[in-house]
Amino acid sequence: MLDPLRVRADFPILAREAHPGVPLVYLDSTATAQKPRMVIEAMDHYYRCYNANVHRGLHRLAEDATEAYEGARERVAQFINAPEAAEVIFVRNTTEAINLVANSWGRANLRPGDEILLTEMEHHSNLVPWQLVAQAAGAVVRYLPFTPDGLLDLARLPEFLTDRTKVFAFTAMSNVFGTINPVQELVTAAHAVGAITLVDAAQSVPHLPVDVQALGCDFLAFSAHKMCGPTGIGALYGKRDLLEAMPPFLGGGEMIRRVTFEGSTWNELPWKFEAGTPSIAEAVGLGAAVEYLDAIGMDEIQAHEHFITHYALEALSEVPGLTLLGPAAGQKGGVAAFTLRGLHPHDVAQVLDQEGIAVRAGHHCAMPLHSKLGLPGSTRASFYLYTTTAEVDKLVVGLERVRQVFRQ
């Protein structure tokens, strides 16, 4: 069993106070996770000892940097069980990964009248890129609805997933409801109608074991910063045959084989999609984050979050006027989004901040989801491997304080 108090010792930031005399209670890991010492040190070490551009120089530093950069790719590939490291493309974040696929695959493959299927619980990052490419290609975007419990309405899937569907892009775990979607089942259904699949794994890769071969998905995207790694780097996994057939997304250095004044030919995978000098220190940091999570064990992390989520949902349901969004603890990851009767989420979050409690308030980049629920937004507490039951207790006390301030 994971001991969160031991884990916490690895995260320097968790020792700080939110305000003078008020300890920090960080319940916003779904927005971004905190970083363990090992990640910070790995990046620091890179800059102090072997900073150089990758794949270019023939000197010692360049060799070391290239080895570390490609080593990080190997580690990430193993972490998600990709068949080969060349199928892992480093990008800036999940958003960029999805834009890459929407633009490169989408522009080459979508025709007027084709359908792009998303779900109503998507983050804007898996929504806007498709709306843009649909507009350019004359394709249609459709949305698989969610039920009042915050689950995908699978009974209606045949109505939305048809032979007109060319791509089905969906989240593995909702960043608002926390719903863990049946990825494998959705991928199988999509393939049965000849559609390709993209999994937005921004919330699943940090929180549960992910095996792209078992899932069978064509593309899978995630960000390092939500999994104890740095900002500015993420990964796109894609099946080799699809990536090979796709035109480049960004042009520039590194992604070419040969350039002439008349035109260019492309580098091989994965570098074909990595134009320009990449985020080298960040890749090293991501590699260290993966190593850190691996050492603890994704099963252990998932079990701990399940325990905390269960505990939190039970405690929060006792708060008068509080309504939880999304399914029960058994069907969701470490996310508790809620509304407090009569109060705007920003007011709730602001009072909680005075108590040192960091939560997210607003639409969490899921405006359509909140519109469907008729809400301007919600307040969201989210949990990770370092979250303790004592922190959840503080949240509950903090919410009492909110109700006091607003005379509820």
Partner: protein, 133 residues
């Protein structure tokens, strides 16, 4: 620790707003939302024959800051000329609110002023809308 962020006045106005409502025979009405927060403010105003605000009502919903600010603003601008409304300094409204606001919350606080100015300008010109912000 400063628990004074939500001054008594803000909470009081949030619960018992001033000048809330809609004017049937308004000389100008304007509404805008802040999609980021979901705050919505509409302002209706009647102008007398001297060109002064005779009556101002606001309606809408959102966070305590945006709602309290609408009460404070509508109270403050009664009797002002249209020219004075157009020149109403945002600093004055922030002063009336009287609590330190983070960058994000300033937008909530100033939504009602933006709406009032846009209304006062009549058909809003893009340039004037920017000034109103």
């Amino acid at each position: 620790m400063d628990f004074d962020l939500y001054r008594e006045q803000i909470i009081e106005l949030y619960e018992n707003p001033l000048n809330q409502g809609v004017l049937e025979a308004a000389d100008f009405s304007y509404e805008e939302d802040n999609p980021l927060c979901g705050d919505v403010i509409r302002i209706d105003a009647r102008v007398d024959d001297q060109g002064r605000l005779a009556e101002v009502k606001w309606s809408g919903n959102g966070c305590a800051i945006s709602q309290a600010a609408a009460s404070l603003l509508t109270e403050e601008v009664k009797g002002l000329s249209l020219a004075e409304v157009k020149a109403f300094p945002k600093e004055r409204l922030l002063e009336l609110i009287g609590i330190p606001l983070s960058m994000n919350r300033v937008k909530c606080a100033l939504l009602s002023l933006k709406v009032l100015k846009a209304g006062a300008y009549g058909i809003p010109e893009p340039e004037e809308m920017r000034k109103a912000e």
